[in-house]
Symmetry: C2
Subunit: 304 residues, 2 copies
């Protein structure tokens, strides 16, 4: 039954990069670079691309900027059905606007944070926020992935809450991204919800274990710079040498995680593309220092 329902829906499986958002020296989005980046990632075999997630610095852009970025990416020729877009804000009204806008561009899949300013809110409050958003968007085409990233959002969403939202909106709340990095929590989500929802883990470090437990794939920051290796791991997850592939992928991720992750990934993009603007980030993030840049380069070269 779950398979029948899923077959009718836009799915999320495989390796989905959480795309960086390149910008010019004034911090304005550089959509040409973003389109090129998306095209390359799709050519490398990524099944879809998440734009304007945490790695894409979504919350450092205004609503108007976020709308323009998505519009430009779609207008630039990236197929709308290959895109997932982050639309979760603190204010339900903003999440509604961005989600409606995504649908208007042909993008049906959104990844949605819970409202993340207030902490210690209860499950009912989070349920109400998502339910209110979905009801106000009021569009059957919507496919919503709940975004669990408690170490950043400060909001814990239990498996019970996720399941309740899925049961209330079975054809809309079809998946989740779990970026907790906390294997026991991830395993619970995979085993309990994997049969009925698309469970995407937020790091390739847990990809093999999560797939075994019922996940559909991963949405990964590292995939900006190492998509092919992660796709190889996904494709060969049942091969005898999967563990060896996993070690290689993990070494790459660790090399970047020794630095502030988003600036490090952008610096690497600048170094490998020769486009210096790739280094730009928006405050409160800042660029790697020259010393950090040298260290990162050395660490990445050691992996070769």
């Amino acid at each position: 039954m779950a398979e029948v329902v899923r077959a009718r829906l836009h799915v999320a499986t495989g390796v989905v990069p959480a795309a960086l958002t390149p910008m010019d020296d004034n911090g304005n989005p550089n959509v040409t670079l973003l389109e090129q980046h998306c095209r390359r990632l799709l050519a490398q075999g990524c099944t879809s691309i998440l734009i304007l997630g945490t790695t894409g610095e979504a919350n450092s852009f205004t609503i108007a900027e976020r709308r323009a970025i998505l519009e430009n990416v779609v207008a630039g020729g990236i197929p709308a059905d290959k895109l997932i877009v982050g639309t979760g804000c603190c204010a339900v009204g903003d999440s509604v606007e961005l989600t409606r806008h995504a649908l208007s561009t042909g993008v049906q899949r959104v990844l949605m944070l819970p409202p993340f300013f207030y902490k210690s809110v209860n499950d009912q409050g989070i349920f109400d926020a998502f339910a209110s958003t979905i009801e106000r968007v009021n569009d059957d085409r919507l496919r919503l992935f709940l975004y669990l990233i408690p170490q950043v959002s400060g909001i814990e969403m239990s498996a019970d809450l996720v399941e309740r939202l899925h049961q209330e909106f079975p054809t809309i709340v079809v998946g989740l991204k779990d970026s907790s990095g906390n294997w026991p929590a991830t395993e619970t989500l995979c085993r309990r919800l994997g049969p009925s929802m698309y469970v995407m883990v937020g790091t390739e470090a847990l990809l093999l274990r999560a797939m075994d437990a019922g996940a559909s794939g991963c949405i990964s920051a590292t995939a900006n710079v190492a998509a092919q290796a992660i796709i190889a791991l996904y494709d060969k997850r049942n091969d005898p040498n999967a563990a060896s592939l996993e070690r290689g992928v993990n070494a790459t991720r660790v090399a970047f995680e020794n630095f502030p992750l988003i600036p490090a990934l952008k610096t690497y993009m600048a170094l490998t593309s020769g486009v210096a603007a790739w280094r730009n980030v928006r405050p409160p993030l800042n660029q790697l220092t020259p010393t950090e840049t040298s260290q990162l380069l050395r660490r990445v070269q050691e992996l070769r």
Copy 2:
């Protein structure tokens, strides 16, 4: 010298309520009720009113709604120079828009959160976010109070960082609100920055100690429902019976803090005003249950 500079500025001293934002049953702001509430608080002796802070559910409103709330309050006759407005968002562009808008209504004083989505950011990143905001607003009339509320924002701002911002923008970054509730941290801020900045504590529980250490007053959620008692405490802070007044004020605060604070304060406003709409909150907050409401009422009656 500090006194000379301060005398030329809009100040913040005394007891400033962090106003609740009343709304109708659909969650739309009820500006008539908000104006009435502000008028009553000023009549009770509050020196200024903070609107659209944490207690005012600012981050649950869109930018357009926040602009409209402020415009309506000013148009309704609340003097702009009695208002402080919260304008800090995750995106610098949004903070710039709200701050410029505040100035356009005649409100010079803003309370500004640091960008609060990304965690583990460094001091330079937070400095850059505030500096960029101030430079883009580019208006000498601006008086900016830094908003330290790490347990909600997830962002720690050190005394060093506050001081650096004050030194870089001495006539603009003139104060701070410290809602940490952490006395050693508050004391450091008061002693080090009280001589040159307006240090407002975020709870009347620390008012006496903070005033002794150099603070200028408090910005208080409880003042929505107990302004006169807190003002009496402020006025008589050097009297022999100040400790007794403080105990009374603290008992009131504790009675509300046993419940989710904002819904509890709104419920109390509904009970005392007879206006049921006062109970409304926006998700992710939710109203007190009937049981909680009865418990709250009993606790408050016990205080009398």
